[in-house]
Amino acid sequence: MRNQKLKRQLCVIALGGVATLLMAGCAGGNEAAPAPDRDLGTPVAGVVAEGVFDGVTLTYAASGGIFQDGQRDAAWDPFAKISGATFLQDAFDAGKLKAMVDSGNVTWDITNATQFDTARGCGTLYEEYDYSQVDISKVPEGTITDKCMVPNILYGLVVAYNTDAFGDNPPTSAADFFDTDKFPGKRTVSQSPYVDPQTVEFALAAEGKDINNVNVSDIDTAFDKYRALGDDVIGWTSGAQAQQQLESGEAVMGLVWSGRGYGAAAAGAPIAPMWDEWMIMVDSTAIPKGVKDPQAAFAAVNFYLGAEQQARMTELTSYGPVNVDAKPKVDATLETWLTTEHLKTGHAPNIDFWVENYDALSAAWAGWVTGS
């Protein structure tokens, strides 16, 4: 019996050894040589020297769809072709980013996040920009909202409505969105897992509140306004779902990302944007904290900001360019959805307030998306 016990112990020790080895193997795999410091000179948006990043691999993580494909074709792949770098694409998930940063094994170099994400995570999840390495002289005014970002796209949360239903008498204000007597039918609103402060701001704008002067109790006011729509409000949990609901006629109106409204219109659905009152949105191009080769990442972002790249990006995605010199060639449908033509009637977000009161907002949002 003792013999057996001994062998069993040996067995356990052996197993333990295997486990330790495996763990060591997992932990030891990410030791990379520090990135070289290259002399790139003064950056000019949209320009990169030939072959300067030979052998470098960069990964862009964003939210997929025609949006990411368009950015890849307009900027990342051309950058790779000229600079010699290899560009990979991945799907962004904030939880995954946190896991990468926490474990010190960051495999993304550039990400697309919201302005609120970068403002909240600047210095902890995202690297501060070295603006001497990125040419931001042509970026639209007011679109750099924290130290960890440059704008990624200029778009909006707009009311997209069905022209078969309201073609003769279209909605013209945020308040009209909530007026089910004048505009009967179902409306679709974001109920995605990701908090969207501008959905809240839109309801407050409809109430006639000044977005730059709100307080915490207004959050509930906003959600109550949506809840008061009762059966006339349905939710979308992804951009694709919003577009589907508009295209199928499931919703006659929706508060959706401008690109998704354009998607529905481009697919032939009778959908038009309401520009009289809308929410200006800017996404961030951000560099994850602990990125392996910051210089290469900055250079790629600098290239992305070029006028030509931005024009092409807009042509491919319908999202507004973040270079004031960009002159995209757009067709009639796309032109009606271009946010950059309507900046005067848009509400800019009150970022500071939402970053400060994020916990209150996220608690209320969790209630809103779970129907309680």
Binding site: R8, C11, L22, A94, G95, K98, G235, A366, V369, S372
Partner: protein, 302 residues
């Protein structure tokens, strides 16, 4: 976990058998344990280690303490969604049971050829992506979809709330989970000696009595195994409630995803995970007690 327990049971039995043999053959006894190594490594690395990590995070993120559990129990949203998750999963289990039982019975009385066909029909959905199937339901069930269109043009009613309702979610989930109910029940029914029913009739039992007193009790292991599988799998559904339900049908997995990926509150998210795991185990233990005499696994009838 029960899987391991039952395997260990069998392992012990073989050890006991070995114990009665002579000393000289003893070294053979531990060798079967080597067979466990792959399973042991997989379970400890890919299940136990992450689970421990999840638990540790739930009591240390952002600081050491039970604040995440306090948040969990004091936030009404969490309790509403937890109850809804168990309720929906229970409903789906009942629906699956009612559909699967006659189907499985049919499989036991038809020819081999037909049985293979029936089996194929039940397996086919498993080979199709869950997302594709759910989107197909979405197109069919929506207010502007063909079902509501037909109802309106033929009977002038509607649109009925087929989508964005518990009905839609339960329908979509039942379709996906049905195979997990049919197969265990079939394997239990196939083992029942069909002559027992004529025997019962011979003793004066009417068909209904014979079914409820003889056939149904013998099929209990299958019902239990199928129900437990469907119920537990149902608790984790995410995409079907998101697409076929409204915010009022959203389940626990969505709440966890939101805390982890949306709000980056890993303490909250992991606490929700531990809470779900614990309550599931408690529910299982209660059900196990209720169904004494049957086992979790259809194969091991005591």
């Amino acid at each position: 976990m029960a899987d391991i327990a039952s395997t260990r049971d069998r392992g012990n039995r073989s050890t006991d058998d070995g114990g009665t043999t002579k000393q000289g053959r003893e070294p053979k006894n531990w060798r079967p344990f080597l067979l466990l190594i792959p399973a042991f490594v997989i379970v400890s690395f890919f299940f136990l280690a992450p689970l421990i990590d999840v638990f540790v995070r739930s009591i240390t993120d952002p600081t050491l303490g039970i604040q995440n559990y306090v948040w969990l129990f004091t936030t009404p949203t969490n309790m509403v969604v937890a109850l809804r998750t168990f309720g929906t999963s229970f409903l789906v289990t009942i629906v699956c049971l009612l559909i699967a039982y006659p189907y499985a019975y049919l499989m036991t009385i038809v020819s081999d050829r037909t049985r293979n066909m029936l089996q194929l029909f039940i397996m086919l959905p498993l080979w199709t992506s869950i997302l594709v199937r759910t989107l197909a339901w979405l197109v069919l069930l929506q207010d502007t979809g063909p079902i509501n269109g037909l109802l309106e043009s033929l009977f002038g009613i509607g649109p009925l709330p087929l989508i964005r309702s518990t009905f839609g979610v339960a329908l979509g989930m039942s379709q996906v989970l049905l195979p997990f109910m049919v197969l265990p029940i079939y394997s239990a029914l196939a083992k029942i000696d069909k002559r027992l029913l004529p025997a019962a009739a011979n003793l004066g039992a009417r068909p209904v009595t014979a079914f409820f007193t003889v056939y149904l009790p013998l099929s209990r292991p299958g019902i239990f195994a199928g129900s437990v599988t469907v119920f537990i799998l149902g608790l984790g559904f995410y995409i079907i409630p998101a697409l076929l339900g409204s915010s009022k049908e959203i389940m626990m997995s969505a709440l966890m995803y939101q805390q982890i990926s949306g709000f980056l509150m890993w303490g909250h998210g992991t606490a929700l995970g531990i809470f779900m795991l614990t309550t599931t185990i408690v529910v299982l233990a209660l059900v196990g007690r209720l169904s004494k005499g049957t086992s979790l696994f259809a194969g091991r009838v005591k």
